[in-house]
């Protein structure tokens, strides 16, 4: 079916401004295939059902809207953890600020290097999970990333890796427009932790494809930078083998527009996937969108989605979550909760928590709630002499706790909680 004219025009305008990166034949082929997907689907518009609550026009426009830089006065994120730091400034690799890409049980290299080699394992992963995830819902911005992102990191974990890999995305130019594409393969029985932080650019498109092999574990914790005007669309695609574990947590504060899509396929029996997010937003400019799609295609798997949003001064929160249980995926345990705490009357929470179930011996539940701070709890705290502002902050932290609990490493939890407290403290009037 031909695309509507407006969509076709917007898509070709965007594509005309981009050039395909060079590389080995297999990489060029993968990028061309991704470009064909983009051309066939067209870039998203507000009229698309999947974008009914989030206007993607700033993510699709030819020029990235500019974003003022924030002087970050907080201690470096994850600073208390011994980690391998890899730094990108406005989407460009910075060797000087990065640690050597060496670690025990882990192989790390840049995507631009991997895609230049004629023979590389990345061939089996690059754009592969993204392409698989285009059905039943189109994600053309992800295909755009596969086609045009020239760099990123490629990681292969072969053992239980002690040191986390930390991708740090710095934002130094008000008009930067960055795309990065990361690949991770956790080999059978191996384990690793990936940390990500930083605003990255005025406009940032980031894609992560993760292949978690049988019995492997992948932990992912990220903090999306505090810059107020940044825009970001991120995609996480994961494929889970038998008895593997996947855990991802994201803390988002500020930013004009953030759309985090997470697509997980449980393909091996008894695998487990947890995705969680805490987002705090202030002001009518803030929009945060968590879009999650979890497919159960094996027996005895567990999935858990926990998304919490605290919104104030007209901020908007969006949640689109889906659990799809394919025929035969018996003994599935699916859980999904999306909640919003609206601190002011002009905030909005828009949610579409879906279930699609084709197997009868499963337990899937979802819940979604939205409302103001519980007056009884507030009264209780105030009656114990806690001032209203502090009581509010306490209740906000308590509300976010269920999402934070998804982070296993307590040092990281502390770091995250500290940042949330900082965010609240700056807003104490």
């Amino acid at each position: 079916m031909a695309l509507p004219k407006l969509k076709a025009d917007a898509t070709s305008a965007r594509l005309d401004a981009l050039t395909l990166p060079k590389g080995a034949a297999w990489a060029v082929e993968a990028r061309k295939a991704a470009l064909e997907r983009v051309t066939a689907m067209g870039l998203p518009s507000r009229r698309d059902e999947y974008w009914r609550y989030t206007d993607p026009s700033a993510l699709v426009s030819v020029e990235a809207p500019s974003a003022a830089l924030l002087t970050d006065d907080e201690a470096p994120v994850f600073g208390t953890v011994d980690r391998i730091r890899i730094v990108f400034v406005d989407g460009v690799f910075d060797a000087d600020q990065s640690d050597p890409m060496i670690g025990t049980g882990i192989e790390i290299e840049r995507l631009s290097d991997a895609t230049a080699k004629d023979i590389h394992w990345a061939r089996d992963l690059f754009g592969v999970l993204e392409a698989r995830a285009q059905k039943p819902v189109e994600r053309s911005l992800a295909a755009l990333n596969t086609a045009f992102a020239a760099d990123g990191v490629v990681i292969r974990a072969v053992a239980k890796v002690e040191k986390p890999v930390n991708l740090i995305y710095l934002h130094k130019s008000e008009t930067s427009d960055a795309m990065l594409h990361n690949l991770v393969r956790v080999e059978a029985g191996a384990e690793m932790t990936l940390l990500e932080n930083g605003p990255a650019a005025a406009r940032f498109s980031k894609l992560l494809e993760v292949d978690v092999s049988d019995g492997a574990a992948f932990h992912h914790v990220r903090i999306q930078g505090r810059d107020h005007q940044r825009r970001a669309v991120t995609h996480t695609f994961a494929r889970l083998g038998q008895q593997s574990r996947f855990k991802s947590f994201t803390l988002t504060a500020n930013g004009v527009l953030t759309r985090n899509e997470c697509v997980i396929e449980l393909t091996g029996d008894d695998a487990s996937a947890h995705v969680a997010g805490a987002a705090v937003g202030d002001g009518t400019d803030f929009l945060h969108d968590d879009t999650v799609f979890i497919t159960h295609d094996a027996v005895g798997c567990e999935s858990r989605q926990v998304f919490k949003k605290v919104l104030r001064n007209g901020a908007t929160g969006v949640f689109q979550g889906k659990i799809l249980v394919k025929p035969g995926a018996q003994k599935t345990d699916g859980y999904q909760i999306s909640q919003s705490l609206l601190l002011d009357d002009d905030c909005q929470f828009l949610a579409k928590p879906e279930l699609e179930i084709y197997a009868d011996d499963v337990a899937c539940s979802h819940g979604s709630t939205s409302g103001a701070i519980d007056e009884t709890a507030m009264f209780y705290l105030q009656s114990r002499g806690i001032p209203k502002r502090e009581a509010t902050d306490l209740l906000v932290l308590a509300f976010l706790a269920e999402a934070l609990e998804e982070v296993e490493d307590l040092r990281l939890t502390e770091d995250l909680r500290g940042r949330l407290e900082g965010w609240l403290a700056r807003r104490r009037r």
């Binding site: 002009d346 949610a351 699609e356 179930i357 899937c364 979802h366 819940g367 103001a372």
Partner: protein, 505 residues
Amino acid sequence: MAALDVTEVREGVDEATVAAVARLSGKYKYGWNTDIEMDYAPIGVNTDIVRLISAKNEEPQWMTDWRLEAFARWEKLGEPTWAMVNYPTIDYQSQYYYARPKSMAERPKSLDDVDPKLLETYKKLGIPLKEQLLLAGVEVAEDAPERRVAVDAVFDSVSVGTTFQAELKKAGVIFCSISEAIREHPDLVRKYLGSVVPPSDNFFATLNTAVFSDGSFVYVPPGVRCPMELSTYFRINAENTGQFERTLIIADKGSYVSYLEGCTAPKRDTSQLHAAVVEIIAEEDAEVKYSTVQNWYPGDEQGRGGIYNFVTKRADCRGDRSKVMWTQVETGSAITWKYPSCILRGDDSQGEFYSIAIANNFQQADTGTKMVHLGKRTKSRIVSKGISAGHAQNTYRGLVSMHAKAKDSRNYTQCDSLLIGDKCGAHTVPYIEVRNNSSRVEHEATTSKVDDDQLFYCRSRGMDEEEAVALVVNGFCREVLQALPMEFAMEAQQLVAISLEGSVG
């Protein structure tokens, strides 16, 4: 019930439930057809057919124009594809849009003049068209007050007759076919028709606006409590014929009316189209209860035939403190596409939606509700139970929207699904849109998420958790059934056996 017989029911699903589902959705009892001479309009739909339907109903020019405008719009529209239902492309030109029993060519003056064959049809369906008769299957205790139901019987494209009209008139209630209302009460009809579901609403509503042939009309004047239940019974009989009826219910200030709707059709191998529009207007302090037992022919065990049911039902709670309650039991139709909704415009207005949808064999149901909160302190409650068996697909699709001005409003939604067998599907697609912070919205879809207080109460009386949950959930299911009027007692009795134990969410 071949499909269920071969299904292995997993542990944890109540046997009585399986039996009740089998009974309810098993052998279709109303599959016979009435052999009667019919007048058909030429096959297909075009402006001539629209004019012909309008002429047959002796409509004024404004009505004809309204239809033609809708038809012109419909021709430009595409069929919606977002629902989770699959069916072969409908050829809108290969069916009849108007079919009337020959004997109805001259409008009967009273029910006594109606063709005995038609009366026989309704008798066989258990619908009393003689005013002194009670509904079949309803036993009334001797000292109970007399219960009477006024019936408007619609057979294919025309209304056959309406009972108790004289007595209702005494109370000031107008209850007649919509074609009669257009002739007799044009001002009322013109004021309200299309004001809740505009001609531009959706593909099927637009088609209905152009070609609806009959339906029911109710007007309850201010302060009047309608002295009896009103009901419409829809029967599709003719082959290859679509039924397009239109219902308009107006409850003026401070009035109350309870309205029932039933529907059946003969067994045929080809599918038939049914696209109805129901509009309800509730003014200040008015209350409307609308109950449906939808039992259109669902098709056979192989999925052949059955009614394609595309229905637009919407209530406008215009006045402050008005209340509308939808209760539906959906057991029939090959395809159900139906979202009875409430626009809660008046302050303190209330909308309720109780639904049990049972799909078996190859049935597909995509049903739910929309609660649009516009007024302050508006309340809505949604309780939906979906049960799938055989190869059926059952989807709950709903919208709860709290507008910025709907301060201090409240919604509670609970949907549960139960799958019997591993070839069927159960889906939930809720849309939740909250645009102020003084309103509370809660959506739940699981048996383990029952009210903590109730659970605690049961536990404190020595029940174990499982027992307590089962009790509370079954209580919920009964709540839907209790919302059904007495006239559906037979259906309700069978449904009571259904438990939601083993729900999958």
